[in-house]
Structure formats: structure tokens, C-alpha cells
Symmetry: C2
Subunit: 338 residues, 2 copies
């Protein structure tokens, strides 16, 4: 079932019941995981572990460098590592999908032949019990139990509410993970999803021993020298037309700075410093010559709807296209405003 | 009297008593006012007005562009405007100094001959009743009633506590001003002064109708085109040695972008994006050829103590020198690390 909830976060009773009654959890989140995805999974895993349950955390991609400070991050396994450890999908009674709501988002649509992914696809086709905890707009009916709350700032807020409802003691590690989840998806309390409930939860988490400044430093001010040089390069490509700002990052720029796609997190927002800029785009060249476009909006324009035109999605103020433009053609004509 | 207070902000009873019993207030804040200074003054003024009291808001300098969105900001008068309006210092029974604790900080040490300043100096010498509400470390014993709380994130937190204790209904305008005061001095909840009480107050202010994203946009993302070009220019001067980053801004750069000193707010922090940078400095050339240095620290180093060596001051993680270095000499040798 799906439920819209108000600012006082109340998890569906059947969600809490499922988490309390089941024992062996696969917890999976979306490809290219961000702080909300990682922090939410880690906090949920700690809570379930404290109740004596078994959890394995799965992600298609490794944890980005800026989230390696999160307590327990080394518990995440890629699907390959899952296989290498000899574990079997069939040993788990429940899949919890966190911060996403479709199997494609956890990487099951990959063309790579990875045994754990094939096993998981078969298990889902065979009716594996699935719980979804997410706050993304796009909804598709997947999952036996679904708590999808697009009006909630971060999936971490939902996980926190569920953990409290499960009666688990909040540890400093859980608090750090939830706090990081929240600051990631609220842009450290600056996006318009930052409501009073977000601040109330933040206050509680600080009381549980989180340092706001340390978290900020780790999540937002931990650029490597290469990443910083990449950022300077991206700033150098900035192109403005009216209230739209476009910047680009090429595979060559990644090579020259020994960086990768996840190093561009937040770059898109830089031109938002300007009062008149309402939409910012970052065009990122992929290795196959296509491009992905990250979109940010200040105010009224819903960039999730723009991204959907290009098979992407996201939130009203932050979205991403699927790779659609070809190098030297639409990608470049887009960057010159045609 | 001065009082150190804990996270539950309790204004000294004699402060509340003075505000409630007196009638004609001059409210003054520091030169080059920031969001904490301006928002705190405006909120206090609204509260006192709602009790039927008369307030005049004084600042030596005009309100910077990024704070012109604050409700009531047009109530601020420069000393010159105060004179031009025909008002007399002698008509006021109380001076409230907000976000500063010495008359020099409100501009009384100026060499310019401004009648209102001369009147105010005479009034203070003659024992004018003075209330100080501040959170800056430097303390000097000035003021009949002093509430100086260096461990509090923003003077806005103190003013908010005082307003509540006075029994005034919090309006949306008061909430917006206090919220802006807090986000200015906590760097939108990222500095290490961001404790649980800050978040609790933020939650209350959101409940009173503040928009977190609108405030962020107004206070931090309202650069003019010229200010943005200036920022790009400053980024271009960046110079790094170990964990110290130095950038510079010259009078020529201001001229070329039609900007002024207050447009450099926050520029100093840009290199903090890098994990290894622990101290950032922005050297700003003044018109007389001297330089001022803004300092920021991440973590253990107390830059207020560094700034004090150069007759400046501030907070542990954010401080500023007095103008001390000469052009072509110490200023430039400083910027090349000697």
C-alpha cells in the first residue's frame, strides 16, 4: 500500500510489522548512491541488527568518497562482492528497497551478467517479499509494502520515523547516518523541502551526538585536489542565457583530473548564486559519447517534468535526464542554446 | 551585568525589565552590518513597537543588497539621515547595541564629523542608559545591562529569547528577521555553532511562516552579475600552500565589476570545499592602499586569535583583521606566503 503522510511522520503499521516480523533482509538502494540512499540504508540496517536480524546492504556502485565517513559504510556490498562472498539471494526473506521504488533503479536493468542480479531478478519474478521506503515522485506500484512520501524531504526522515516506531534505541551511528541523509537531500537545509519537521528531527539528531559542522565538512567540503580542479574547469565552461545557466564536463576533463561522474555532485548549482538564474544545467559527457543532463531549479519551474521528457526524473527542483544526446550533435547544440 | 547562558536561552531578568520599562529606544548595530546584525535589530524593533514603544534603528552603513528583502529594512537610518530628519539623540532614553559590545563598533570612532555621532558620544559620556545584546567573544565592560553570550550561534537567538520573554506575539516579519540572523551566522546551519537549540528555534520560526529556501535564496543566492564576475575573478587569484588557501581582491577588481567590499561576503570560504584546506584567507585591498584580511578556519585553529594579532577579532572560525598591511609590501608578501 502507498500512503501520503503529513509533517508528523507516521509509518504505515504494516511496514513496521513487516520489519519487526521478518529476519533476513536484503537492503538495496539506487545506483550511484547519494547520502540519503547510503545513510538511510545504514541506519535501517543498524536498527534491524539491534533487533537480532540479519541484513546485507547491496549497491551496484561503490560508496562515493564523500560518504566514506559514514559509520558502517563498509557493510555495503556490490553485487559482485555479494557473489564472491558465497551468499545466495535465496537465503533472504525480504528485499527492502530504500530511496527508490523500482528494481531498475537498484541496477537490475543492467546488461552486465552478474549472478546476484540474475538471482534477484528470478527471486522477484517468483514473488520475493519486497518493502519500498522512498520519497521520489515517480511511482509504479512495485512492492508488497510501499511507503512512498514525495512530500518528505529525505528518505532518511522516513527511515528515522520507522526506526523510532520499531522501538529501537537511536545510537550516535544511526543519528549520523540519518542526519547525513537529510542534509544531502535538503542541500544542508536550503532546498524548499526543508520544513519545520526537518529541523525538529535535526535537533533530535544533534542531541544524539551528531556534529553539524563535521557532517557538513565531510559531505560537502571534502573535495580532493582533482575534484576541486575539475570544479574550476566546469566553472570555466559556464554559459548564461537570460535566467538559464549551462555548464559542461567532458570525459577529457575527468581524465585530466583523475575524477569520475560522482565527483560532479553539486557542481550544477554553482550559477544559482546569481539572483537572476532560475534554472541551471550541467551537461556531462559519458564515455559512449552520449550526455546526461543534471537540472536544478530555483522557484517555480518543475525540472522533474523537463527531465521526464528525456526519460529521466527526480524532484521538482533537482532532476536528471537519461543519456540521450549524441556528442557533436544535439548535446553541443543544446549547450549553445539552440 | 554579563551572563553566560546554556542552550536553553534565558535572558537576564534585568534586560527584559529594561526593555519593558523604557520607551524611546535607539537601536544601533555594527558597521558593515550583516544578516545577524540587521535581522536582530529589526526583530527587536518590531517587538518594542508592538508594545507601543518608539524605536529608531541606526547604522553607519547602508543595508547591503542581499538583506534588502528583510521586512522593515527601510526603517534603518544612517547617522546622516538621522540628522537630516531633525531627530535628536537627547530624545531617546536608551541605546540598545545589538550584535556588538563597544561604541567603536557602531562607528563612533569615525574621523568624519557627523552631528548625530557627536551627540551620541556626548550622551554616552553623560551616562546615557545602554543595553548590550551580543554574542561576540571580545568583551570590554561597556553598557549598563549586558547580555553577551559567545557560545550562542547568533545574536538573533538572544533577541528571539528576549522577545518571547517580553510576551510579544511572534509575527511572520519577526520570524523572518530572526531566521535570517541565524542562517547568516551559522552559514545556513553549517558552522560548528549550529547546535540543537539552533534547530529548535529554526523549527519554531518555520512554523511562524518562514520559507527556508526563499531565505537561502535571498541571503546567499542573490548575487548581481557584477558580484558573480567579481567572485570568478577572486577564484582566479586562488593560491594554495599546504592546508592554507589565500585569495585576493583588489580595488581594480571592484571597479571593473561595479561592486564593493560587502559583495565579497562568503568569498573567503570557497577553497574550504577542499578536504585538505583548514584555513582560508581573503586579502582585500582598500582604497588607501592598505589591506584587510578575512580569515576562516575549519576545525581546531582559532582565527580570532590570529586576527587579534592584527587588531581585529571575530569568532573562532571566522575573523577579520584591521587594515594593517601596505600595498606592495607586507600585503603582497603575505599573499605569496612569505
Amino acid at each position: 500500500m502507498s500512503r501520503q503522510i503529513g509533517p508528523k511522520l507516521l509509518p504505515p503499521p504494516e511496514l513496521v510489522e513487516a520489519l519487526l516480523s521478518r529476519d533476513n533482509f536484503l537492503i538495496a538502494t539506487h545506483v550511484n548512491p547519494d547520502g540519503d540512499a547510503i545513510g538511510s540504508c545504514l541506519a535501517l540496517s543498524d536498527a534491524l541488527n539491534s533487533l537480532g536480524k540479519k541484513c546485507v546492504l547491496l549497491d551496484k556502485h561503490p560508496i562515493p568518497a564523500q560518504y566514506l565517513f559514514l559509520p558502517g559504510q563498509d557493510k555495503f556490498e556490490t553485487f559482485e562482492a555479494f557473489n564472491a562472498s558465497g551468499k545466495k539471494i535465496a537465503d533472504f526473506d525480504t528485499l527492502v528497497m530504500v530511496d527508490c521504488n523500482h528494481p531498475d533503479r537498484i541496477g537490475l536493468s543492467t546488461k552486465e551478467l552478474i549472478p546476484a542480479i540474475e538471482e534477484l531478478k528470478r527471486a522477484l519474478a517468483g514473488g520475493m517479499f519486497t518493502v519500498v521506503i522512498d520519497h521520489h515522485q515517480t511511482e509504479n506500484g512495485f512492492g508488497n509494502i510501499r511507503w512512498i512520501s514525495p512530500e518528505t524531504a529525505a528518505t532518511g526522515m522516513l527511515v528515522y520515523a520507522a526506526i523510532k516506531k520499531m522501538g529501537v534505541t537511536i545510537t550516535q551511528a544511526i543519528a549520523k547516518n540519518i542526519y547525513t541523509a537529510i542534509v544531502t537531500d535538503t542541500g544542508n537545509f536550503r532546498f524548499d523541502n526543508t520544513n519545520a519537521e526537518v529541523f525538529r528531527v535535526a535537533a533530535e539528531l544533534i542531541d544524539y551526538g551528531v556534529s553539524s559542522s563535521e557532517t557538513y565538512e565531510n559531505a560537502f567540503e571534502s573535495y580532493s585536489g582533482g575534484r576541486f580542479r575539475l570544479f574550476l574547469g566546469v566553472i570555466g565552461t559556464l554559459w548564461i542565457d537570460g535566467n538559464i545557466a549551462v555548464s559542461t564536463v567532458t570525459t577529457k576533463m575527468f581524465e585530466e583530473t583523475s575524477t569520475a561522474a560522482d565527483d560532479t555532485e553539486a557542481f550544477v548549482s554553482f550559477p544559482m548564486l546569481m539572483k537572476d538564474i532560475r534554472i541551471a544545467m550541467l551537461i556531462r559527457e559519458l564515455k559512449d559519447g552520449t550526455c546526461k543532463v543534471s537540472l536544478r531549479s530555483k522557484g517555480a519551474i518543475d525540472v522533474a517534468r523537463v527531465a521526464e521528457q528525456f526519460n529521466g526524473g527526480g524532484h521538482k527542483n533537482a532532476a536528471e535526464s537519461k543519456p540521450v544526446w549524441q556528442r557533436q550533435s544535439a548535446c553541443c547544440s543544446k549547450s549553445s542554446g539552440k
